[in-house]
């Protein structure tokens, strides 16, 4: 198989399969959760659920001071990683083109050198998180294979993208193919691992906020 065959494969059928599994899996799990519903709260409501829930979704983007003081390293690295990853994903122009072709929506991108710097920082943060997990005794005790594995997969998507962009591996079709392959791996495992938190975190926050709101306390 030549590098071009490989690229055609990952840009063609493999991508279709991965995307189908991803969408299928995400919807499957979201519907399961939503339909299962929460236990009915029989207590008398002291406040609204909806507004409080919605507010909490946004309020919790803000770093928690206590957590920041207690374990600053993973908190800060975590924020850097999440922010960086989304900048690379959503503001690199070739990615915007992909989203535009699939969903028909588009927005302005960032100059490549900015995305480039962000990608490096993000990869640095991921390495930091990996090392922290390995060296912190408590976290290490709590970590499963999945925790390490996912860090590696996410790192691979960034690293292969960086490699492809800079033509570090030649020929380019091979480099681009590897990037797509790693993304496809991410898409396939996404719904069935804790990566699902990308979506469920908002459900969770809403439920938390809504419950607190009903009780008339702040979440």
């Amino acid at each position: 198989m030549t590098p071009m065959d490989f690229l055609q494969l990952v840009r063609g059928p493999l991508f279709d399969i991965a995307l189908t599994i991803f969408i299928f899996g995400v919807l499957l799990r979201l519907f399961e959760i939503i339909i299962l519903d929460r236990k009915r709260d029989l207590s008398e409501a002291r406040g609204g659920e909806f507004i409080a829930g919605s507010k909490t979704i946004f309020r919790r983007f803000k770093p928690d001071r206590e957590k920041l003081q207690h374990s600053p390293v993973p908190t800060i690295l975590g924020y850097i990683f999440h922010l960086g990853f989304f900048i690379c994903l959503l503001f690199f122009i070739p990615h915007i083109e992909l989203i535009h072709s699939a969903l028909g929506v588009s927005w302005p991108g960032l100059p490549n050198f900015l995305v480039d710097v962000v990608a490096l920082i993000t990869m640095g943060a991921l390495v930091g998180l990996f090392l922290y997990r390995l060296t912190n005794p408590l976290l290490r005790f709590l970590s499963s294979f999945q925790d390490y594995f996912l860090l590696v997969v996410v790192f691979l998507t960034l690293a292969t993208g960086y490699i492809a962009f800079h033509h570090i591996i030649e020929p380019y079709p091979l480099a681009l193919g590897l990037h797509l392959l790693s993304v496809e791996l991410l898409l396939v495992i996404f719904p069935f691992t804790k990566l699902m938190h990308t979506f469920t975190v908002f459900l969770g926050r809403y439920y938390n906020g809504a419950m607190a709101g009903r009780r008339g306390v702040q979440s």
């Binding site: 969408i23 499957l28 519907f31 490549n112 079709p173």
Partner: protein, 363 residues
Amino acid sequence: MSAHITLGEALRRRGVSRRGFLKFCTATASMMALPPTMVGAVAEALESAPRPSVIWLSFQECTGCTESLTRSHAPTVEGLIFDHISLDYHHTLQAASGDAAEEAREEAMHAHWGNYLLVVDGSIPLANPGYSTIAGMSNLDMLKESAEGAAAIIAVGSCAAFGGLPKAKPNPTGAVSVADIIKDKPIINVPGCPPVPSVMTGVLAHYLTFGTIPELDVYGRPKVFFGQNIHDRCYRRTFYDRGLFAKTFDDEGARKGWCLYRLGCKGPTTYNACATMKWNQGASWPIEAGHGCLGCSEPDFWDAGGFYRALSIPINDPAAAIGIGVVAGAAIGIASGAMAHRKKVEATHHREPLKVEQLEGKA
């Protein structure tokens, strides 16, 4: 021109001075994409270059490659090279036809058995030999026969090198490349649809000059011409890096000469000499003319997604994948969620509350 005199001798007989010869070598070295320091070596080699016999076969092709070649931009220099090679057989260019043409081919083959250079353009149909025949002979048979006595083969154009347009899905003729059939001869692939003229002559000049096969990449392409990535050598690259793109062919970005990535430019996956050698006597090249690169020197470029779709967009329309995913995911999700929900409701109904006595083991 006698078959035995060298190129240096032939030029002197034509009254070309030493300066003229050195100039010829400079132009040839430049055409071969060699560094200027190599001019001396080229001069030395050309001085004693023997006169090779060339047989040119055309199979499933559009003659675009020959058209391109005969319009190459340096008639004197390339003319001297072509004068010097003995083009014994070329379907399209030769005056002879029918049996006389086929005889010429056989004669040249026998006279230079083991030493002639075979040039092929066009792909070879395997589904049914009748799709393309010459003098009643299938392309496959003619290629095999002619390849046997060849010193080396140059597959000119994307069809001969990779199958090209005839091989595009669904490939009705079962087209394949030269390298798919011939396994025991050195093959130089010179893809492009058509190839840059000076690349074709450059490869011929290299063989003529040094009598060797140039260094090749994974696709059998000479690295001197196909080692450079279009995107890396593109003068619009600064715009790519700054995130400035033309979004249509007539917007502000297009007028200002910004990057054509969003208009489907395949420069990043393409390796060819267009950015430096250019076309039409060095006048311009596709990207300079405002159109994205089609990637014509890469295998299966016809099937690499639309010409006007950005490279990052998958080849197939994602609508099908999204549709299946949404419908199946939602349906099964709802079903499974509903089942779990019912179970929960049932469990609540049949719930037997635990009493303190039970816990204390008194019940």
